[in-house]
Amino acid sequence: MAQAPALPTGFELPLEPRLPRIGSVDQVAVEARATDLSRRSIKREAKLFALDLAVRMMDLTTLEGADTPGKVAALASKAVRPDPSDASVPSVAAVCVYPNLVQTARERVAGSGVKVASVATAFPSGQSPIDLKVAEARRVVELGADEVDMVIDRGAFLAGRYAKVYDEIVQVKEAVAETRLKVILEVGELGTYDNVRRASLLAIAAGADFIKTSTGKLSSSATLPVTLVMLEAIRDVFEETGRRVGMKPAGGIRNAKQAVQTLVLVHETLGLDWLTPDLFRFGASSLLNDVLMQIRKEKTGRYQSPEYFTID
């Protein structure tokens, strides 16, 4: 079983002036900063740039009990070619589905460059024995998933059993090997920004390639301040170690304006290097059509009826 790395003395003390190992977050100030950044006025070519980027960064998602091969096939087709009337609109980054639908999605996106992501580890609650979670993660990779979105065990986290949370991520990472691993913190259940920061650093330390806000199953999810807190954790790790960890806000981002605001946050917190689908994703289902509508508006100068955009 994996273990949190320990020094021979059992714990680590900072021996040079440096960032606190975990640190804390001031709620009022982080919300004020997020609000400030959300007021950036992004117009014309700068907006078109952001909208195009948002499409390329999207994990187009369906995670419903009612998902069928038909539904997923339609979604995957949309992922490859989001706007059939405009060839300059790029494909999205990935489709994100339940394990049973990985193969269907895989067939539909074959050859397009669009990745297939699957949730695993007893999504959305994470409340299952670790051997089942590991087996599930391994299985979705065998089924052909390019990326795995796992959930952390919030019960363990809130009970203060951080080592359990850490060990589970390490084991899932071992199971999926080179496959990109996104670790869902489910921020809506963590209660404080301090916890969001702690969970972010814990997931990164355990080997997460991406940290992700939410499952999409709660009403409170990828708010701007939560995203900012996670981006700042990523920045601290990068500054200290040079390691680049990706970020995926998911849930609650429904329109193009929110997406642009989120990209401003990334731009002004982590800089241009993170403005790539390799290091940033949006987890969303209804966002894509609004972005497409805004792209067409920027290009033609007028809004078109929602009926011109396919419902998938």
């Binding site: 960032l19 606190p20 640190g23 117009k43 740039f49 952001a50 700042e232 241009l272």
Partner: protein, 500 residues
């Protein structure tokens, strides 16, 4: 569209994401070519016959001609205010006074965009700030004091109060409309009439405010606005007013105090500052960095309570400075009317000269200067956000108020040393404390000699909160209940005292 730079087999990373310019339209502001003095509810030609030009400091473009009021003009304004006081305003029912203040507040809200644009145009501050801070806070001050106007007997129980008469008010150029509101709202709520002199470089929002007064149908003569330079202010100090309220430099404040000594005129002074912003190693770091930035680069550092001396606990010094420098590279300096601008233009040539002089002194004394790469516009008055490290307590940049976007960084080892260094200044206006430890905030607040202490935030204002200084930062408070007192005369209520 930004160009893409190919890096290996990864998805291309953009080479830049330039935000397209997003200027707020100037169209909403209608400027006169030439303004008069606002006396007795009318714009009148100055008897002095003199005018000067007021500029847009971001382009040096002249905006309008402004009267330079002489002693005769000031005397006329004060006489008019005196007459308005005795002819009705002092006898008006308190609810009536409240009515006008509420009206003014609402009109300011309705015309907020116009005021925000004008404030940025004439003062150089980013529209983001005039829109989100200056104008809403100015309206909030009028709302707040409107509420007190008919409740003064509850504000000061067992003390019978009456207005002073005519208040002469002299305001600075850093927050022209907001300082006007801080001055006029409590004066009127208490039943006084007013002669106000806006700063020489930023008279336009006060002149637009005259239009608001007429719209609100405030009786003529209750508020009079006289424009001009320091000579006009000196004439107002010497005139037949009952009280002077001054916000500005400590040097001028001292001169005013000397002038008024023995005259019986009341005086409040809100003067300079050299505030310590104190960062403990257990603070929320990223938010503290935001607080540092907001403390010194807000309004280009043209803030009397600016956190211009950063005191950092030595154990966190290096990572904090790295974070701060990184953050400075994202500050957007430029067109004040662009909605994405974080740092605007320096208010005047004179102020720019002063900043440049002190910065040169800092470099000469041996401090290390850091400025993020930024392209400053060619025309207008500009200064890049600046951080000085390696600063000793004895350097001029650690002692004197720079009143610009220049931060001096010092370090401390223990809370005692932080208090000692923070208080080691002739000023005492404000201070900031950053720590996650609540008990330490209280411990520090008891020991810091400053009128305003912010904990885990900086430069936050509210009409209900009194503001003012210790030591050479002045005396008297503005805002809150405290802000009414300097505009009232008190007598103990004898019936109450005897009756127990």
């Amino acid at each position: 569209m930004a160009e893409l730079e190919q890096r290996g087999d990864r998805t291309p990373i953009p080479a830049a994401w330039e935000y397209a310019s997003a200027p707020e339209s100037r169209e909403i502001v209608k400027l006169e070519e030439r303004y008069g003095l606002f006396i007795g509810g009318e714009f009148v030609e100055p008897r002095s016959g003199e005018h000067y030009k007021t500029l847009d400091p971001s382009s040096e473009e002249p905006l309008a001609e402004i009267p330079q009021a002489g002693p005769e003009d000031v005397a006329l304004a004060v006489g008019t205010a005196r007459k308005a006081f005795s002819d009705g305003w002092s006898a008006a029912s308190p609810a009536e006074r409240a009515k006008y203040l509420f009206r003014i507040a609402r009109i300011l809200q309705e015309r907020s965009r116009e005021f925000a644009v004008l404030e940025s145009l004439n003062g150089g501050k980013p529209i983001r700030e005039s829109r989100d801070v200056d104008v809403p806070l100015a309206a909030a001050h009028f709302f707040y004091y409107a509420g007190w106007a008919d409740k003064l007997e509850y504000a000061f129980p067992h003390r019978r109060q009456q207005p002073l008469g005519v208040a002469g008010q002299i305001i600075p150029w850093n927050f022209p409309l907001l300082m006007l509101a801080w001055k006029i709202a409590p004066a009127l709520a208490a039943g006084n009439t007013v002669v106000l002199k806006p700063a020489e470089t930023t008279p336009l929002s006060a002149l637009l405010f005259c239009d608001v007064l007429r719209q609100a149908e405030l009786p003529p003569g209750v508020v009079n606005i006289v424009t001009g330079d320091g000579a006009t202010g000196a004439a107002l100090v010497k005139s037949e007013v009952d009280k002077i309220a001054f916000t500005g430099s400590t040097e001028v404040g001292k001169a005013i105090q000397r002038e008024l000594a023995g005259t019986g005129k009341k005086l409040t002074l809100e003067l300079g500052g050299k505030a310590a912003n104190i960062i403990f190693d257990d603070c929320a770091l990223d938010q503290a960095v935001e607080g540092i930035v907001n403390g010194i680069y807000f309004n280009q550092g043209h803030v009397c309570c600016a956190g211009s001396r950063l005191l950092v606990q030595e154990s966190i010094y290096e990572p904090l400075l790295e974070k701060l420098k990184r953050r400075l590279t994202t500050l957007r300096v430029g067109d004040p009317l662009d909605k994405n601008t974080d740092v605007g233009a320096i208010n005047s040539r004179q102020q720019l000269d002063k900043i440049e002089e002190l910065v040169a002194a800092g470099e000469e004394e041996g401090a290390e200067i850091y400025q993020p790469p930024c392209r400053l516009p060619e025309k207008g008055y500009w200064f890049a956000p600046t951080v000085f490290t390696n600063v000793a307590q004895s350097y001029r940049i650690a002692q004197e108020e720079i009143f610009g976007p220049v931060l001096s960084v010092l370090t401390f080892r223990t809370p005692d040393e932080a208090v000692e260094k923070a208080n080691n200044t002739p000023y005492g206006l404000s201070a900031g404390v950053w720590t996650e430890k609540g008990s330490r905030i209280l411990w520090m607040a008891q020991r810091l000699e400053a009128g305003v202490i912010w904990a885990n935030t900086y430069n936050r204002f509210d009409p209900a909160s009194p503001f003012g200084g210790y030591k050479e930062s002045g005396f008297g408070r503005e805002g809150g209940l405290h802000g009414l007192e300097p505009y009232l005369d008190f007598r103990e209520d004898s019936a109450d005292v005897i009756g127990g």
